[in-house]
């Protein structure tokens, strides 16, 4: 091995939620051990979740950072932006960075998150398009939106819908193309999706669900899209928001087992010694299944980062990962939607809904054996964190079900204060 290779006790790859939580967890138990954070990004840490607000102009880009240099100095962390992991040599406990340098670690956390998944549409490499995952993406998109007159958004997940709303508000004519036959599938059910769709239509967006782009080609405006049903669309701004894929190309040949994501156990350890993974790049136990699943959401990235950091530092206070519970919040045209838990109705499950046309309040809850497995609301605020505990603790709600549905906010709090306050 070449002369003096740089060494670090803890090496964390990535600088977002999972990584930052691991840093805190490690420092809680080991204030001194050398700790290095390398990240592909050029900036201080920030959240991908805030980016739609950078695009809309609500968040000033220089005010979104989650930590500053002083934080890293105080916590004795060497923070290195523009330092991407290129290859992992797990057999020799070394990480190879994109600039060819090597770093030896005692314990390694892979918290590299995810990147936009680009669908293999013929011609996609002949047109220019936007994605939204990094601050640089957001700044480009922000500038483009200001100039756009006719935009197309591919994918009606939360990322696409957020951007579409920004486009609408900026005055562009917007078309959303979604392969599946409903918006925000996976987060919200048909009724909720319908309410979201109506809000977009009311504000002038065009929505084409159950539609697929089969061809892309350059055009004088920008890009020309051909749909499966023969329709063609012209776009001066094309945003591809068709989902994400975990960032793990560096694993090649490392021996770290991976499926859809990097496979980890309940302490976020990978199949290889001294290597952990957490956040959007990891595939960990799901709360509702015994199998390992992708649960690429912010709250879960923090929980996983925390568990991984404690495991790496050998903190005896560690609690094993309980399994990922889907959680989402979504704001659209001044309304809000919250989803907690699984949207699938389990076998023998019971679904209860209530909808008030006048106020537009919608609530749906799913129970199995008197236990909550999912709760979803549009314009109906409840404490998502409390609901999540009801699910995680598998609390028997048979006796309070009716009251809970009538007033999830008050009754949720009542149960909270009796059970885990």
């Amino acid at each position: 091995m070449d002369q003096a290779m740089e060494q670090t006790k803890y090496l964390i790859v990535g600088s977002s939620h999972a990584a930052l939580e691991a840093v805190s967890a490690i420092r809680m138990h080991d204030p001194e051990g050398s700790l290095t954070v390398v990240t592909r990004d050029a900036h201080l840490p920030y959240s991908p979740t805030v980016l739609p607000y950078v695009v809309s102009g609500k968040s000033a880009p220089e005010r979104i950072f989650l930590r500053d240099d002083d934080f890293f100095a105080r916590n004795k962390v060497s923070y290195r932006p523009k330092a991407a992991l290129a290859a992992l040599h797990a057999d020799s406990n070394t990480a190879e960075l994109a600039d060819g340098s090597h770093l030896a670690y005692e314990k390694l956390l892979l918290a590299t998150g995810a990147s936009p998944a680009i669908p293999p549409i013929p011609g996609i490499d002949t047109v220019s398009y936007h994605v939204l995952r990094t601050l640089d993406d957001a700044l480009k998109l922000r500038d483009a939106i200001a100039k756009s007159k006719q935009a197309v958004v591919l994918g009606a997940g939360l990322v696409g819908m957020h951007a579409a709303e920004n486009l609408v508000k900026a005055g562009a004519s917007v078309t959303i193309v979604e392969m599946s036959d409903q918006l925000t599938a996976g987060y919200f059910d048909k009724v909720a999706a319908q309410m979201i769709e109506q809000a977009f239509i009311d504000n002038g967006a065009k929505i084409m669900t159950g539609n697929r782009v089969v061809r892309l080609e350059p055009s004088p405006v920008g890009a020309k899209l051909t749909l499966e049903n023969g329709t063609t669309l012209e776009a001066d701004l094309l945003l591809v928001a068709t989902g994400v894929k975990p960032e793990m190309a560096y694993l090649n040949g490392s021996g770290v087992e991976h499926g859809q994501g990097i496979l980890v156990d309940d302490r976020m350890q990978t199949s290889v010694a001294n290597v952990w993974a957490a956040g959007d790049c990891a595939q960990a136990r799901g709360f509702f299944t015994d199998t390992q699943v992708m649960n690429a959401i912010l709250p879960d990235a923090t929980v996983q980062g925390r568990v991984a950091g404690m495991a790496m530092a050998g903190d005896p206070g560690i609690k094993e990962y309980p399994g990922g519970v889907p959680l989402n919040t979504y704001h659209f045209f001044g309304r809000h939607a919250i989803s907690v838990g699984s949207s699938k109705v389990p076998e023998g499950g019971e679904v209860v809904t209530r909808f008030d046309e006048k106020t537009g309040r919608y609530l749906k809850a799913i129970f199995q054996d008197g236990r909550l497995t999912g709760i979803f609301g549009v314009n109906e605020f409840f404490d998502g964190g409390v609901m999540c505990q009801l699910i995680l603790r598998r609390i028997d709600l048979t006796d309070v079900k009716e009251r809970l549905l009538a007033n999830p906010l008050a009754v949720g709090r009542e149960i909270m204060s009796k059970t885990w306050r």
Partner: protein, 448 residues
């Protein structure tokens, strides 16, 4: 050193759900009477009320899940602040918090949470039942945290020992220019005088007999005075050592006005040697020498101690000491105030501080319950917190106008579990009588 913070405490037993706190909060924070917008939420039904309020967590989940850096814990105040100019209204914080401490204000469209009104919470004075308190004891812990702990780390006290807490606090406060006397009892038992030739303190410490603590300490103090050195003469003695065999030397030193601070850690028995009764053990209590059961006392059935406790601090008042006070670790601010006064008084005369100190092992309650037991003793008037100086007389420092029934105190520990109705009636009667008795002292002081 980790900092302690002020906090809003809620006593569910005192809450009747009137909602005045919510009105006060809504008015202070939104300028309306809309209690749905209050940041403190009383929840529950009928007689069973609870609270949803930001706990200002040490490890706040709302902060970790905020994508915009809009939430942060203030290192000075401990309050989790919300920065409206950074918030993007995504509501993720409400999903992160398991305690409903941050929620959507539907009128403003933003989340809202308690900020303790910058240390002057509007809800607290609005509560007509005293169910809300703003606890500022944290200041003490922060200040004390900066003083040196003059006991060795790792004393061999029982788990959850109140005495260890008390003696560490006391010596931190009294400081390094101290000579410490610790007669036989729990204090040397857990290591104040040390092991294997090293002391358990970072100040000179000695181990008098049970009988001569005050006499020896008086001699040492006088010798230091003679050589012109100012020291604090401090005794930390148990109730057995002070009220039984040590009493004559204690009384003598008090009568002569020896310049010392004599602290009694009253755990109501000889706990260190196997929990024998002392003259401070209360009526009815089980100890190993006042057993409970049929035929266990020379063939006769026995129901715990058959005499009432001696009121040692009142006896000290009758010595007209420079300062006499009773204290409890459940009321740390009060204890520290008295410690300061006692220390000052000990420069010119005899200062006596009597601290009621529950014993998890001897009184039989779970080790984490110490403060709760100590608090219940005060809330039932089983013990009373007061101070006395010859100039100002006796004054209650934590008057309890509406004491809980004494059973609330008796039931939190095992040593009273066997009590008969008659015994409980006796104890309750004694509590009332004691309260009246001390009350008369205080009235004389003020009315006379």
């Amino acid at each position: 050193m980790v900092r302690a913070f002020n906090t809003i405490a809620f006593d569910a037993a005192k809450c009747d759900g009137c909602g005045d706190c919510m009105v006060a909060c809504a008015q202070a924070k939104t300028g309306t009477d809309d209690i749905a917008r209050s940041r403190i939420q009383i929840v529950g039904r009928e007689k069973d009320f609870e609270l949803a309020l930001c706990r200002q967590c040490a490890d706040p989940k709302c902060v970790t899940v905020c994508p915009a850096g809009a939430l942060g814990k203030d290192g000075e105040t401990g309050v989790i602040g919300w920065d409206a100019s950074k918030c993007v209204d995504c509501l993720l914080c409400t999903v992160g918090c398991a305690y409903a401490g941050i929620a959507l204000d539907e009128v403003s469209g933003h989340v809202s949470k308690c900020d303790t009104c910058d240390g002057n919470p509007a809800c607290v004075p609005a509560c007509p039942h005293g169910a809300l308190k703003y606890i500022t004891t944290a200041n003490i812990y922060n200040e004390v945290g900066d003083w040196e702990d003059l006991f060795a780390p790792g004393l061999a006290g029982c788990q959850g020992c109140n005495t260890e807490l008390l003696m560490r606090h006391t010596l931190r406060r009294v400081g390094p220019d101290t000579v410490l006397a610790t007669p036989p009892g729990c204090v040397p038992g857990m290591g104040s005088v040390g092991f294997n030739g090293t002391t358990g303190t970072k100040v000179p410490v000695f181990h008098p007999l049970l009988t001569n603590t005050a006499a020896m300490l008086a001699g040492i103090k006088r010798q230091y005075k003679r050589v012109g050195r100012e020291i604090n003469a401090l005794a930390i003695a148990g109730d057995g050592g002070a009220s039984d065999v040590g009493f004559q030397s204690l009384s003598g030193a008090a009568e002569r006005g020896e310049q010392m601070l004599f602290m009694v850690v009253d755990n109501e028995g000889y706990m260190n040697t196997g929990m024998q009764r002392s003259s401070c053990t209360p009526y009815g209590a089980w100890t190993s020498t006042t057993p409970v059961g049929a035929g266990c006392s020379a063939g006769m059935p026995s129901q715990g101690k058959t005499q009432d406790a001696k009121n040692l601090p009142l006896i000290m008042v009758n010595h007209r000491c420079a300062y006499v006070a009773t204290a409890s670790t459940a009321y740390m601010e009060d204890l520290y105030e008295k410690l300061d006064k006692a220390l000052l008084a000990s420069k010119t005369g005899f200062a006596y501080l009597h601290v009621y100190s529950p014993c998890t092992t001897g009184w039989r309650f779970p080790t984490h319950q110490n403060m709760e037991v100590a608090r219940k003793a005060v809330e039932t008037n089983f013990v009373m917190l007061w101070e006395f100086t010859p100039q100002k007389g006796l004054r209650f420092t934590k008057p309890v106008d509406d004491p809980l029934p004494v059973t609330e105190y008796l039931k939190v520990m095992g040593r009273f579990r066997h009590l008969s109705e008659d015994q409980i009636t006796h104890i309750q009667g004694k509590v009332v009588e004691n309260a009246k008795f001390v009350q008369r002292f205080s009235e004389q002081a003020h009315g006379g």
